[in-house]
């Protein structure tokens, strides 16, 4: 009995103890959990709330009197910038043409070197040139103005979330009123959760009227921001606690602003449209501050189901939903009956083609991204909202794209090839500054797939030849443009390798030919023999000095372009030739600003002399001869001879690759054509790539290639037959450039006659200066 009593007492005691400690533990767990939730609520809210993609801009178009710019090009630029034509341009981003006079109002913009406010301009055009440039209000003449640069794409965060952050003050009040009417009428009076709303939701759920939300804006924000989308009771509970905590720490305005920036409003391919700022651009192409009641109601209505109420795919549903939101706004007193009926009568007003998010120039963007990754973590590029100013010239880009796709179609049709079997790549750079103006990675320029301009490695064929000749011309005492080369049969026997017997394209041998002709007519045998004399590794070393950053296997066939390079690598090499032997690494980026417009990094112009300027001069002069009378003469079908361009064709075995690399006074461009399966195309460099090069350049403003003649160069009359000294007026005599002291001294019959005379001349040249 005693024992029983005791045991009962013990049991009672232990029960109390269990209760006590149990409660304590539960409270403790609840406190810790709440603290944990509090921590997560605050840490996310205090830090960076979103990953903002980097914005990538094309070059800003400069306007100045005298500049070559057609009305059509100007219009192309305005359309790219989304400027609107109006009768009386007052708002930034509007313009009006009257004959050849353009009135426009530039948008304000922060460039790398500072802020430029909106600017009202009058520009007159004459003969495809800018004639005058003045400020419209004051009549002040201006010498130079920059347009704002076209936005050409973004570098998106992992989930491809795109958004344009807005401040609450920058959002049309109709959006906020609509939001409160449709989603959370008591937003300003509750503390994160709305008990009345929950009760109503519970009743309608239990009575079988379907599951209702009853969530406040705060809860919705918490759900989007912190939680997974599953629907469990525990998650609902967590959501409520977090909503209360959020309201405890932050005021209503901040919560509302965050909500407006957070919301998901649609999908553009694999890019998601987030936030009211981007959505109003995406659906109405206007800033969120300018949304009218109907537009605001449409966006608010879509929050319930962005794809279900997508106004582009389901306009009727979207319209009904919008009108419902408008009614709710009127119920709440935000709209008068007149406003309501006017807004409900409006059409959806959604623009047909949204501004592109995915870049229209994926091949160029890939190059930008690659250059950026040398200095930036990918994570930062995708989250810090950096502004990246690039060198892309959209007008050059369009010329390159259209020339490539049109020519490939035409080549296929003319040659009875199956459609879409040919592929190609184009790169264009500015000749002296090495800025990349255009990159086309394939015949469908919008396709973001294999980027042939950067990644296709193809044998370069005769594009190597100028490097072989450059290597020779570096030794003026041994080789000049007039030096006779041997183009007779050649057999190279080396132990351990197959015999090599190069042939010419016409399957003939040409005997003794001047070096200049051997390059102009692209003779393989003469070039191979010359290259062997010089040493293959010496030629290949020069290829690297000109800007190739890789080691290539070196063998005799390298002299005829057996090594594979990408079009980008070829462009760098030819760029250095165009730069007169000065290497400037190709640049796709000019500068980077932070999200707030602070300069972060510049990519300054960098030059380095890598090759003797005189030898480059002679090589380029010989490449002009290629276009004048050699394998590149087909360019005369597209461009005037007065441009005096320099270039080189390239064709590989069985016509698998067709190349053309060339330069005008202001641009370097490289074109490759071939098949992805590496099958023969039947095209030579001249019948394929060259035609695209010509067609593209014909659409652009070109300057003639006038080579600045180094002091060390003299022009000498030569008899091309013998390669000996001749004189002006002699039959067939041609004037050729020579590095001082390297011209032939022996005279042809018509030349400065006597042997003695030419020796005298030689001494004169040697000591004359």
């Amino acid at each position: 009995m005693k024992r029983r009593k005791k045991s009962k007492k013990t049991r009672w005691f232990s029960r109390r103890k269990v209760l006590f400690f149990g409660t304590l533990a539960i409270v403790l767990v609840a406190v810790i959990y709440t603290l944990y939730l509090d921590y997560s609520v605050r840490s996310r809210f205090e830090g960076k709330r979103w990953k903002i993609p980097a914005k990538v801009y094309a070059r800003a178009l400069e306007l100045y009197p005298g500049q070559t710019l057609s009305k059509a090009s100007m219009n192309a630029e305005l359309s790219l910038l989304g400027y609107k034509e109006t009768a009386e341009p007052q708002a930034p981003g509007s313009f009006h043409w009257q004959n050849r006079t353009l009135d426009l109002v530039l948008r304000p913009f922060t460039f790398g070197d500072g802020f430029r406010d909106q600017l009202s301009l009058r520009v007159t055009f004459a003969d495809s040139r800018v004639q005058t440039l003045e400020q419209r209000d004051t009549g002040l003449a201006l010498s130079l103005v920059r347009l704002d640069p076209p936005l050409i794409g973004g570098i998106y965060p992992g989930k491809n979330e795109d958004r344009l952050l807005v401040k609450l003050a920058e959002v049309s009040p109709y959006v906020i009123n609509g939001l409160l009417s449709a989603e959370d009428r008591r937003f300003y009076s509750h503390h994160g959760i709305d008990l009345r709303g929950i009760a109503r939701a519970l009743i309608s759920t239990l009575s079988g009227d379907g599951i209702q939300g009853g969530s406040t804006l705060t809860q919705q924000l918490v759900k989007n921001f912190y939680l997974s989308p599953e629907r469990t009771l525990r998650r609902k509970f967590t959501e409520m606690v977090m909503a209360l905590l959020l309201e405890l720490h932050y005021d209503k305005q901040e919560i509302l602003e965050t909500y407006l920036n957070e919301v998901y409003l649609g999908q553009d391919g694999n890019r998601s449209i987030n936030g009211i700022g981007l959505a109003s651009r995406y659906f109405f192409n206007k800033p969120a501050s300018q949304l009218d009641p109907a537009e605001a109601a449409l966006l608010v209505g879509m929050l319930k189901g962005p794809s279900y109420y997508n106004p582009r795919t389901h306009p009727e549903r979207a319209l009904a939903r919008r009108n419902l939101v408008l009614e709710q706004m009127a119920e709440e007193g935000y709209l008068s009956p007149q406003q309501l009926s006017a807004a409900q009568a409006e059409t959806l007003g959604v623009i047909e083609r949204p501004p592109r998010g995915t870049s229209p120039y994926p091949a160029f963007l890939a190059l930008v991204h690659r250059q950026l990754r040398q200095n930036y973590r990918d994570e930062d590029l995708r989250s810090e909202g950096l502004q990246i100013f690039t060198t892309l010239d959209p007008q050059v880009q369009h010329a390159a794209e259209s020339a490539l796709s049109q020519s490939l179609k035409q080549l296929e049709a003319n040659r009875g090839m199956p459609a879409a079997v040919l592929e190609g790549a184009v790169l264009v750079t500015s000749a002296q500054n090495a800025e990349v103006e255009a990159v086309v990675g394939g015949r469908d320029p919008r396709f973001k797939g294999f980027n042939r301009a950067l990644d296709a490695l193809r044998p370069i064929g005769s594009l190597i030849k100028p490097i072989v000749y450059l290597t020779a011309l570096e030794q003026p005492q041994k080789y000049t443009l007039a030096t006779k080369l041997d183009d007779s049969p050649l057999l190279l026997e080396q132990p351990g390798t197959a015999d090599w017997a190069p042939e010419n394209y016409d399957h003939k041998f040409h005997g003794e030919v001047p070096l200049l002709t051997a390059l102009a007519d692209s003779y393989n045998v003469a070039t191979a023999r010359l290259g062997l004399e010089l040493g293959v590794d010496r030629v290949m070393r020069n290829l690297q000095r000109l800007g190739l950053n890789r080691d290539l296997p070196v063998f005799a066939a390298s002299l005829l372009g057996a090594n594979s390079l990408s079009p980008l690598e070829v462009t760098q090499v030819y760029q250095t030739l165009a730069g007169g032997g000065f290497l400037t690494p190709l640049r796709a980026i000019r500068e980077i600003l932070t999200a707030s417009g602070e300069p972060l990094q510049r990519y300054p112009l960098d030059v380095k002399q890598v090759i003797d300027q005189d030898a480059v001069y002679l090589t380029t002069a010989a490449m002009q001869e290629v276009v004048r009378r050699g394998t590149g003469k087909g360019l005369s079908d597209y461009l005037p001879a007065s441009l005096d361009m320099a270039g080189k064709t390239g064709t590989t075995d069985d016509f698998r690759d067709s190349w053309f690399a060339g330069m005008t006074g202001n641009r370097v461009a490289v074109v490759w054509v071939g098949r992805d399966d590496n099958q023969p195309t039947g095209l030579t460099g001249a019948s394929g790539a060259l035609t695209i090069w010509g067609k593209m350049m014909a659409q652009l403003e070109n300057e003639p290639l006038i080579l600045p003649e180094p002091d060390n160069i003299e022009q000498v009359w030569i008899d091309p037959e013998s390669g000996l000294l001749s004189a002006e007026g002699c039959r067939n005599a041609v004037q050729l450039p020579f590095i001082s002291g390297s011209a032939p001294t022996e005279s042809a019959p018509c030349g400065p006659n006597s042997v003695g005379g030419s020796i005298k001349g030689w001494f004169k040249r040697l000591f004359g200066k």
Binding site: D113, S143, R602, L605
Partner: protein, 133 residues
């Protein structure tokens, strides 16, 4: 001896600055002239990066104007990028056939750049070249 060399350097620097005023206008294009002036103002305000951006804008308009390359060479010298300064002066020279005052000036820049890099002999050679232009 060292003092004398210093004096020579100072004299040459003065000569350099004098030359800029003496040589004819670097460009006939008002847009380029405006950018050059802007770059000058930015340089004297110590905004070397902005000056760099302005000069590059000018070079995009007139990429073969040796006076602009020379100005960029000067700026790189200011920035302490001496090897770049030399290369840019050489680039300017490569485009300045026949323009002896400009070439002379480029050789002076090259000499100063080499001097700054401690290449006294190379600097002397460049000065000799300048004297011959």
């Amino acid at each position: 001896m060292k003092e004398m060399r210093c004096t020579i350097v100072v004299c040459l620097l003065l000569l350099v600055s004098g030359c800029t005023v003496m040589t004819s206008a670097p460009s006939r294009n008002p847009a380029v002239t405006a950018l050059l002036e802007k770059a000058e103002v930015q340089t004297s305000a110590g905004q070397l990066n902005q000056a760099d951006a302005s000069l590059e804008r000018a070079l995009r308009i007139e990429p073969r104007n040796p006076a602009l390359w020379q100005q960029l060479a000067r700026l790189r010298f200011e920035q302490g990028l001496f090897s770049q300064a030399e290369n840019l002066a050489r680039k300017s020279n490569s485009l300045a056939a026949g323009n002896r005052p400009l070439r002379k000036e480029n050789w002076n820049i090259i000499a100063q750049a080499r001097n700054a890099l401690g290449d006294v002999q190379g600097a002397q050679q460049a000065w000799d070249r300048a004297a011959r232009e």
